[in-house]
């Protein structure tokens, strides 16, 4: 499968935090959700992809090209949305359009006005009077109007009400009608991801814990519940993570069929939600 983002053995050291030998491939033509707790390295990874942070070592390719030689070509094809406001507060969307549009070869004013209308944004009001949801919509309009091949978003749904989150997810689905486009976005609201993501990348303490398709996660991972007495040194090996509560246990497994063979009707094997997977990977040791 063609890759849109390829990170190989990336290293970056900060005081108190480091990313060591990070490897990550993002498939072209899909929505990939990037999840992990606060401070796990999501923003750092996104900033390295955008060349806002320079890795200490390692290889980084976007559309098969490196920033060193092709930074401008790469960024012409990327649309970006960040969780903090990076646009000049005193300016209106019309002013920002005047500033940003000439920067991109493929800027399309028609697309720009369509999104403005769709999101019901005021053209002549300064950004500083916008609500958080409106700011996010404005960032999205500016990110999408040059018809980018890759859309990178850092926590686009953080702090937004459910109505707008639904709008955003719908917009993402519309964008993905075009099979050449790819979306990579970080979030900690996992319910959003289950609706639209094709792949989920999970990062913890600067390490990629898994990078799976949503189908793999739903079919190969399962939640197992049963009586504590069933767990001994041997059976424990069949689970990835176990948590105990009084006389019962709750565990995550990547071998639901084998568990069914071993325990039969003595345990309940259930579908596992992304949130539960994250909970197990994050919290239970």
């Amino acid at each position: 499968m063609e890759k849109v983002i390829e990170l190989e053995n990336l290293n970056k050291n900060f005081p108190g935090f480091s990313i060591n030998d990070l490897n990550l491939n993002i498939n072209k033509g899909y929505v990939t959700g990037f999840v992990g707790a606060n401070g796990s390295g999501k923003s750092t990874t996104i900033k390295m992809i955008m060349n806002l942070i320079k890795p200490d070592s390692g290889d980084l390719k976007i559309f098969g090209m490196e920033h060193g030689d092709y930074e401008k070509t790469i960024k012409q094809k990327i649309g970006f949305v960040y969780d903090d406001n990076i646009y000049y507060e005193g300016l209106s969307l019309r002013d920002l359009q005047k500033i940003i549009a000439p920067v991109y070869h493929d800027w399309n004013n028609e697309t720009f006005y369509n999104y403005i209308e769709k999101f019901e944004l005021p053209l002549n009001k300064p950004i500083k009077n916008f609500s958080k949801g409106m700011r996010m919509k404005a960032s999205l309009v500016l990110a999408l109007s040059h018809n980018p091949e890759l859309i990178i978003m850092d926590e686009p749904t953080a702090g937004l009400d459910p109505v707008f989150r639904k709008d955003l997810l719908k917009t993402i689905q519309e964008i993905m009608m075009d099979e050449d486009k790819s979306i990579f976005f970080s979030t900690h609201i996992t319910s959003d991801l289950e609706k639209i993501a094709d792949y989920i990348v999970f990062i913890k303490d600067g390490d990629i814990i898994f990078n799976h398709s949503i189908n793999t996660l739903q079919n190969d991972f399962a939640l197992v519940k049963g009586n504590r007495s069933l767990i001994d040194r041997d059976t424990e090996q069949e689970f990835d993570y176990i948590s105990f509560k009084e006389d019962t246990f709750e565990a995550m497994t990547k071998k639901p069929r084998k568990i069914a063979e071993i325990f039969g009707d003595e345990v309940i094997i259930d579908k596992i939600s992304l949130e539960e997977i994250m909970y197990f990977f994050n919290g239970v040791e």
Partner: protein
């Protein structure tokens, strides 16, 4: 390049109305014309820096299709363009109000400004965001103070040049060239710092 000029002008559209009154204040309070050229040249580039500081503009600039070399170079070249505009504007105002000035006033005034810029632009890259406004104010007050103290001396200096036996145009060219070389070195220092920065 055009993006940067356009951006500065759109950002400062309100402040630009104050540009002429700002120059007029100095025209009527100071006698040394070269000082007016210096102060007028400061206006647009330093306002732009103050604006950039309000938001995380480096994050925006570096996410747009620009290289770090371009971002720093355009800031320096843009400053030269605004300086040229300020020279025209101040010359017109001075002529309009019948205030005498020479080409040496322009040369010395602008050289002074470019030296201030050469010194402060790399500093902005070293100091953290949040201190830039302070640096601008301190640099402004210091340079005005320095200029006022030096103005008499510089007046004599420019008179001396004007009356000296040395080839005036040669001396003048050497001055401008040295300042431009310093300005270019300053860009190189700024770029060296900016190149490896994390945003």
């Amino acid at each position: 390049m055009l993006y940067f000029l356009k951006r500065d002008l759109i950002l400062q559209k309100k402040l630009l109305w104050l540009y002429v009154p700002f120059i007029l204040i100095f025209v009527f309070t100071w006698s040394s014309p070269f000082l007016i050229f210096t102060v007028a040249a400061l206006y647009i580039p330093y306002n732009a820096l103050a604006y950039d500081e309000q938001v995380n503009s480096d994050k925006l600039l570096n996410s747009l299709p620009y290289t770090r070399l371009e971002i720093t170079l355009y800031r320096y070249l843009g400053t030269l363009v605004y300086t040229a505009v300020s020279i025209l504007l101040v010359s017109m105002i001075l002529m309009l109000f019948d205030k005498p000035f020479t080409v040496y006033d322009i040369g010395i005034g602008v050289s002074f400004f470019l030296l201030i810029a050469s010194f402060t632009y790399p500093l902005f890259q070293i100091f953290k965001q949040g201190n830039i406004t302070t640096i601008i104010i301190v640099a402004f007050v210091l340079s005005i103070g320095l200029l006022s103290t030096l103005s008499e001396y510089l007046d004599d200096f420019s008179n001396a040049i004007a009356n000296s036996a040395i080839d005036q145009s040669l001396l003048f060219t050497v001055l401008i060239l040295s300042v431009l070389i310093i300005y270019f070195i300053s860009w190189f220092i700024t770029y060296s710092i900016y190149r490896t920065k994390d945003f």
